[in-house]
C-alpha cells in the first residue's frame, strides 16, 4: 500500500499505481472532429437519423439508375395508366407501380426519387451558398468592427425581422420561375442567419488579445479571418447549417406547393404533393401522401441529426 506523505499535494496521485511520472507520456490529443464523431456515435437517435439520411441521399443520387421509369420522358408515360393504386402492374406487364401512378400516368416511385433529388439538391446547394455568403459577411463585420459592423448588422437585423415566407414570396414573384431563380431567392432568404451566427462567434474570438497582437504584426486580414477566427465559429455553424438545410428544403417545398418556385419541368417533392392534393378528396391518397412522406422523412432526419449535433457539440445541454 503506498505510504502517503504529509506533503502530498494531490490525493488522486496516490491512486495511480506504478507509473513513474517522469517517463510517462500522454497519448496525442484527439482531433475535435473525431471526438465529435465518437460522441455522436453514442447517441442512438442521431445514428439512426444519420443512417436514414445517407440512404435518402444515395437514393436521390442514384435516381436515374434505379428508377423503374423516367417519369419526365414522355415516351415512357401513358395517360391510360393513370391513377393506378399502389402495387398495380403496367399495361405491358413489365413494371410494377410500387407506389401507384399519378393523374398523368407517371410512376410515383420514380417521380419521388427524382423529386427527392431536386428537393435535396436545391436545399443543400442554397444552404451552402448562403453559408459562404453569410460567413464572409459575418467575418468581415467581426474583423473590421466599428462602422462596418454596425452597417452590416443593421442590414442583417432588418432582414431577420421580416418573415421568411414573405421575403421568399416577394423574391420569387419578382424574379419569376426557374431553378436558378429559386436558388437565388433561397440564398437571399438564408444568408442573414448565417451572417449573424458567424459574426457572433467571430466577435468572441476577435476580442481576444492574440488577435490584436497578430494584427499588430501585420498579418493579412484574410489569413486572420480564415485561420484564427473561423475555427472558433465551426461548432455552432455546423448546427446552423443543418437546420438551414432543413428549412430551405421545407421552404422550397412550400413555394412549389403554392405554385411559385420551381417550374413543372423540374418537379420537387413540393410540386408532387401539390399536384396530388386534389386527389386526396377522392381517396386517391397515394399521389400526395407518398411524396409527402418522403419529404417529411428527409426533413425530420436532417433535423434530428442537427439536434443531436447541437447536444454533442455543447455537452452542457445534455440532461
Amino acid at each position: 500500500m503506498p505510504q502517503p506523505s504529509p506533503n502530498t499535494m494531490d490525493m488522486n496521485a496516490t491512486a495511480v499505481s506504478g507509473t513513474d511520472s517522469a517517463t510517462a507520456t500522454l497519448p496525442p490529443p484527439e482531433s475535435p472532429w473525431r471526438l465529435t464523431a465518437r460522441r455522436f456515435g453514442r447517441r442512438l437517435p442521431g445514428v439512426i437519423a444519420a443512417a436514414f439520411l445517407m440512404l435518402l441521399v444515395l437514393l436521390a443520387l442514384a435516381a436515374p439508375l434505379i428508377a423503374p421509369q423516367d417519369p419526365y420522358d414522355l415516351a415512357q408515360v401513358t395517360i391510360v395508366e393513370n391513377e393506378r393504386a399502389p402495387g398495380a402492374l403496367s399495361d405491358d406487364g413489365r413494371t410494377t407501380f410500387l407506389l401507384g401512378t399519378d393523374g398523368a400516368g407517371r410512376d410515383m416511385a420514380s417521380a419521388i426519387l427524382y423529386g427527392l433529388r431536386i428537393s435535396l439538391g436545391i436545399g443543400v446547394a442554397s444552404a451552402l451558398v448562403a453559408l459562404a455568403v453569410g460567413t464572409v459577411v459575418g467575418l468581415t463585420a467581426a474583423y473590421f468592427g466599428g462602422k462596418v459592423d454596425a452597417v452590416l448588422m443593421r442590414i442583417v437585423d432588418v432582414q431577420l425581422s421580416l418573415p421568411t415566407i414573405l421575403v421568399a414570396l416577394v423574391l420569387l414573384a419578382v424574379l419569376g420561375q426557374g431553378v436558378d431563380k429559386t436558388l437565388l431567392a433561397l440564398v437571399l432568404v438564408q444568408w442573414a442567419t448565417f451572417a449573424r451566427n458567424v459574426r457572433g462567434s467571430a466577435m468572441v474570438e476577435r476580442n481576444k488579445e492574440y488577435i490584436e497582437a497578430a494584427m499588430g504584426q501585420g498579418l493579412p486580414a484574410h489569413r486572420l479571418m480564415l485561420r484564427h477566427m473561423l475555427p472558433n465559429c465551426m461548432a455552432p455553424l455546423v448546427v446552423t447549417t443543418t437546420n438551414q438545410m432543413a428549412n430551405a428544403i421545407t421552404l422550397e417545398a412550400t413555394m412549389s406547393f403554392l405554385g411559385i418556385g420551381l417550374p413543372q419541368t423540374e418537379p420537387s417533392l413540393g410540386l408532387l404533393i401539390s399536384n396530388g392534393f386534389d386527389y386526396v378528396l377522392s381517396h386517391q391518397y397515394w399521389i400526395s401522401v407518398f411524396p409527402g412522406l418522403a419529404l417529411v422523412l428527409l426533413v425530420v432526419s436532417i433535423s434530428v441529426v442537427g439536434d443531436q449535433l447541437r447536444v454533442v457539440l455543447n455537452p452542457k445541454l445534455d440532461t
Partner: protein
C-alpha cells in the same frame, strides 16, 4: 427604459421604410406593369395615354414619392383584377386571418405550455422524451403536408370536420367571426390546428427549457424552506418566472402566424388575406400584393414593439436597468 423603447420604435420605422422601397421597386419597376393593364392589341398612343394617366411615365423617385404620399393616406392603388382599392380588399379579409391566427395562438399556448412545464419538471422521464420527440417532428413537418394529413384523416376518412372554407359567421363588434357558433368552430378547428402545430412544438420546447432552468433556482428551494406547498410553489414562484421568456416568444410567434397563415388559408380555402395574396401573385395583381405586404409588415412591427413593452412589464429587473 424609455430610450430603449424609442430606439426600437425608430428601428421599426426604418424597417417599414426599407420594405416599402423594396416593395415599390420589386412590384412597380420590374417588368413593365403597363402591359398588364391595357388590352393586348392597344396602340402605342393608347399605351402612352394609359401610362400618363397612371403616372407610370414619371421618373422613378417621383413615382415613389407619389406612392409614399398615397400610402400615408391609406391609398395603395386599385386592384388590377377587382378594380377596387387594394387596401380595402386586404382589410376586408383581415378579420378572417386574425381569427385564424388568434385561434392558433390560443391552441399553442393551451397545449404547449402545460406539456412543456410538465416535461421540464420531470426531466429524463418517458413523457419528457416523448415530448422532445414530438417537438422535433412538429418543427420539421411542413405545414402544408400536416394540413393535408389532417384533412385526410378527419375530413375524408372520419368525416367529422369539413375540409375547407369558413363556416357561418356572426357579428361581434362589427366584425364577422366564426368562433361564436359550434358549426363555425368546426370549420375553424382544422386550419387553426395546422397553423398551430409548428408553434406548439416551439412553445413546448421553450417552456420545457425555461421550467427546467427555473426549477433549479435557489429561490425555489428558498420558498420550500419557508414552508410553501407544491401548489403555491408552482403558481406563485415557478410559473411567473417561466412565463417571462415564453410570453415573449408567444408574442413574436403571433406575427409569424399571421404571415404563415397564407399556406393554411390556401389549403383550407379560408377566405383571409393570405389566400388573396397567393391568388394576386399568380395573377400579377401588383397593388394588392404591395398592400398586403405593407399591412402585414405594419402588424409585424406593431407586434414586436408590443412584445418589447410586455417584456418590461413582466420582468421588473429590466425596468430599473436604464435608470
Amino acid at each position: 427604459m424609455l430610450d430603449m423603447l424609442a430606439r426600437r420604435a425608430l428601428q421599426s420605422v426604418l424597417v417599414v421604410f426599407v420594405m416599402s422601397i423594396l416593395a415599390f421597386v420589386g412590384i412597380n419597376l420590374v417588368g413593365d406593369p403597363i402591359y398588364l393593364l391595357v388590352p393586348p392589341d392597344a396602340t402605342q398612343v393608347e399605351i402612352a395615354r394609359a401610362s400618363k394617366a397612371l403616372g407610370l411615365d414619371l421618373p422613378v423617385h417621383q413615382q415613389y414619392g407619389r406612392f409614399l404620399l398615397n400610402a400615408l393616406h391609406g391609398d395603395l392603388g386599385n386592384s388590377f383584377i377587382f378594380n377596387r382599392p387594394a387596401v380595402s380588399l386586404i382589410l376586408e379579409r383581415m378579420p378572417a386571418t386574425l381569427e385564424l391566427a388568434v385561434a392558433a395562438l390560443i391552441l399553442s399556448a393551451a397545449i404547449g405550455i402545460p406539456f412543456g412545464m410538465w416535461a421540464g419538471l420531470h426531466p429524463g422521464s418517458m413523457g419528457q422524451k416523448l415530448a422532445a420527440g414530438f417537438s422535433i417532428l412538429g418543427v420539421s413537418v411542413p405545414v402544408f403536408w400536416m394540413g393535408m394529413i389532417l384533412i385526410m384523416v378527419f375530413s375524408v376518412g372520419l368525416g367529422w370536420l369539413p375540409s375547407g372554407g369558413r363556416g357561418p359567421t356572426a357579428s361581434l363588434l362589427g366584425v364577422q367571426v366564426s368562433f361564436l357558433s359550434w358549426s363555425g368552430i368546426k370549420f375553424l378547428l382544422l386550419p387553426a390546428l395546422t397553423l398551430a402545430l409548428h408553434n406548439i412544438a416551439l412553445i413546448m420546447r421553450i417552456t420545457e427549457a425555461s421550467t427546467r432552468d427555473v426549477a433549479h433556482q435557489e429561490y425555489v428551494r428558498f420558498a420550500r424552506a419557508k414552508g410553501v406547498g407544491p401548489m403555491r410553489l408552482m403558481f406563485r414562484h415557478i410559473a411567473p418566472n417561466v412565463m417571462i421568456p415564453v410570453v415573449t416568444v408567444l408574442g413574436l410567434e403571433f406575427a409569424h402566424l399571421i404571415a404563415f397563415s397564407l399556406i393554411t388559408e390556401t389549403i383550407f380555402a379560408w377566405p383571409g388575406m393570405g389566400k388573396l395574396i397567393i391568388d394576386s401573385l399568380l395573377q400579377l395583381d401588383r397593388p394588392v400584393v404591395v398592400a398586403y405586404l405593407m399591412v402585414v409588415l405594419m402588424l409585424y412591427v406593431l407586434i414586436n414593439f408590443t412584445v418589447d413593452v410586455l417584456y418590461l412589464v413582466l420582468d421588473p429587473r429590466l425596468r430599473t436597468k436604464a435608470a
